[in-house]
């Protein structure tokens, strides 16, 4: 098929209207000490120590930033194990056995609204840094660095687009607790002295728009609007969202802050609310378990540090007749597949997809051009592939392979089922 294709077919078993199941009290949690950004760490607790919910138990070091590690339950430390991080790397984790008391640490105290109203940007940034809040859309980039920008920001955009198919964790978050998002947005706007707030959401998600508009009535004095964006992939990509919600086209390689706009994921806004209001790090999050090889797809509110094995068991396990399983953490277009299910839930884990692995029959490229027509950053995947095959770095530079955001559309639309996204990654590596 020779055509531009930006609609990614959604899964037939939509989870978005399923209620959110609560699974916040696992037997044990495993707190990852390393992550894809932080290779080194210090641990302040040892085996047998009693820890409380929200207690700092160590510190991750990510080079240009440091991040406290929190216990997400109260209980007893059981020592170190190795588990998989959602990005597929093996990391050190500390095991904490749950005592089911949910005792909060003394540092977890509520801040009254009157106190927050008087906070300056520096104070807020400090709280958020201390709470280890990161970009929960999947990037995991520390939010305080973003918030600490010295550029003048006029508009804050909350990204509630969730354009990847199969996912519904952001959807459930907005339905379950919309007020957190509005408060989070309010605090961000206060910190950045932004005049305008925008919540970007797909126009096809009418129920969410209803919820958000109802909630908006509670904040009449604030300049917040809801931008209804078209339903296509990758609408949730920040630059695409800015262009469609605000009409600001941001060239590749430039930070949106240069244009006076800043974007936060909905979950990040909610986490910023938790940090400022309750002085809490991210201890729970919404997560979707979905896919064609799981018996019971559902949305779960989970404790950070839960093993995904538990969640699979909770969803009635894998479908018995599925022989090969592709376990994906994240969305089907950009998620990572992991080697086994012993993975810990981190704050950035949006979903677990259990897909029956399909072997796509790759055929020779017929140069149909669908990848070029569909590319959101206007590069030419097929010509980049050919340049890689002949090792032509000069051509790769001219073809601007570095612009690629690895959204996966080129491989998705390919008539010959060629894995073009892999070629794009290779091309980026070739250019260094």
């Amino acid at each position: 098929m020779i055509s531009k294709a930006r609609k990614v077919s959604d899964y037939r078993q939509l989870t978005k209207e399923l209620p959110t199941l609560r699974y916040v009290d696992p037997e044990r949690v495993y707190i990852n000490l390393q992550s894809d950004r932080c290779k080194t760490y210090t641990l302040d607790v040892k085996e047998g120590d009693k820890v409380k919910l929200g207690q700092v138990i160590g510190e991750r070091d990510g080079g240009f930033f440091k991040q406290p590690i929190y216990s997400t339950i109260s209980g007893e430390v059981e020592g170190l194990t190795k588990k998989l991080h959602p990005t597929g790397i093996e990391v050190d984790c500390v095991t904490i056995r749950n005592d089911f008391k949910d005792e909060y640490h003394e540092s977890v105290t509520d801040r009254p609204e009157s106190v927050i109203d008087k906070m300056t940007k520096e104070e807020m940034v400090d709280v958020i840094r201390h709470a280890a809040t990161v970009g929960l859309g999947g990037s995991g980039f520390p939010s305080y660095i973003k918030l600490d920008t010295d550029k003048e920001i006029h508009t804050v955009v909350i990204n509630a687009v969730e354009c990847e198919p199969y996912l519904s964790s952001d959807y459930r978050l907005i339905k379950d607790s919309p007020e957190e998002i509005f408060y989070g947005l309010k605090y961000i706007m206060q910190a950045l002295k932004a005049e305008k707030g925008v919540i970007a959401v797909k126009k096809t998600k009418t129920e969410l728009i209803d919820v958000l508009e109802r909630e908006l009535k509670r904040f009449p004095h604030m300049n917040i609007e809801i931008a209804k964006l078209a339903d296509y992939y990758p609408q949730g990509w920040e630059n695409e969202m800015f262009e469609n919600a605000l009409g600001i086209k941001i060239p590749s390689g430039v930070l949106p802050m240069e244009y006076g706009v800043i974007g936060f994921n909905v979950s990040t806004a909610s986490a910023i609310y938790e940090a400022l209001k309750h002085n809490l790090p991210i201890i729970k999050r919404h997560l979707t378990v979905n896919g064609d090889a799981i018996n019971f797809p559902q949305n779960i509110r989970v404790r950070v540090g839960t093993s995904i094995k538990d969640l699979i068991r909770l969803s009635d396990g894998y479908r018995e007749d599925a022989e090969k399983i592709d376990l994906v953490i994240g969305g089907p277009m950009m998620g990572t597949s992991v080697e086994h299910d012993d993975v810990v839930v981190t704050p950035t884990t949006t979903s677990v997809l259990v897909l029956e692995s399909q072997d796509f029959h790759e055929e020779p490229c017929v140069r149909c051009g669908s990848c070029i027509y569909s590319c959101p950053v206007d590069i030419q995947p097929v010509n980049i592939m050919n340049a890689i095959k002949r090792n032509d770095t000069k051509a790769l530079e001219n073809l601007e392979v570095g612009k690629c955001i690895e959204c996966g559309l080129c491989a998705y639309v390919c008539t010959s089922k060629i894995h073009l996204t892999d070629y794009m990654r290779k091309g980026k590596k070739l250019l260094g």
Binding site: E323, I325, M334, P364, Y373, D378, A387, T415, S416
Partner: protein
Amino acid sequence: MEFVTKNSPHLRRPNANVVRMMRDVAIALSPLVIFAIHQHGLSALWILLVSVVSMVATEYIYYQIIDKLNGEKFTLNNKSFTVYNFSVVVSGLIYGLTLPDQIPLVIVAIGGIIGVFLAKLIFGGMGQNIFNIAAFARVFVVLSFGTALAYTNHVDADLGATALGVLNQDMLNENATNYGFWTMFSGIGLPGSLGETSALLILAGGLYLFMRKSFDVFVPLTYVGTVFILSLAVMFTQDVGFWYPATHVLAGGLLFGAVFMATDPITIPTTRPGRIYFAFGLGVITFIIRLFGNLPEGVVFAILIMNMFVPAIDYHKWATNKFTLKNVSIFTAIVIITVVLTAVGVHYAG
């Protein structure tokens, strides 16, 4: 049960595959095949059979030998042997449909064998060919066996000339082409190649391909549009009737070439602006060959000539995914210059 790891994306577009695309072309061609057999009788059937079988057999034997050389066993699902995805069948059908009805079968077979071997197999098989296989085979037959290409005239058995052949001989004489619009459009009783005569069925096939998104509709539109605009320019400057552009569009292999040959994605540029430049070039070359060339038919030559420019159009220094202001202004200027030059050229040459 076991876990397998894969790189994202983990989904693929349903219903998008090469088999579907090529099968659609075969389906779009089938009314033309039936029409050709209805018009020309069994000889058409034999020509089409020989053209398809010669191409398929050449490819089959070629890969048998290659596989033997590589020490592999031959299987029908061999990726290189493209019968399963209809690609060689489609090439054979298109080639057969461009041939005249009185051609000896030996020539058809030779053209098919040489065409698929020289234009496809030695380049590395499907997806690697530079030249359109059917156009190459057809041109090979024209150049090597030109005298054997005789047409039967159903209207007047003595004449034996196509509308375009007449147009080429006596360019601006309206009475030279007295076939009438309906004959030209439906192709019933019109002399010409097997599949090129019925504009109606070609357009129906094009509509099907467009609805199935199995070709890029901008290529035939630009191609036919260019020829139409250039002949309009001649019409106005030479003061001839509307029959002139209409004949140019309906006669000869223009519609067939535009819908089925110029849209073969393997041999055309990959970007949309590139495809439009390519189709514009096709239109200009076709028109120039038709007016000033020795042979009445310019379509297959135009396709082969423009095939050579594909790497240049796709060159990474200037190929863009979308039309930019600069592209549009340069292209518009070129179009205007071409139209003016054609009008002036016809005035002095004609």
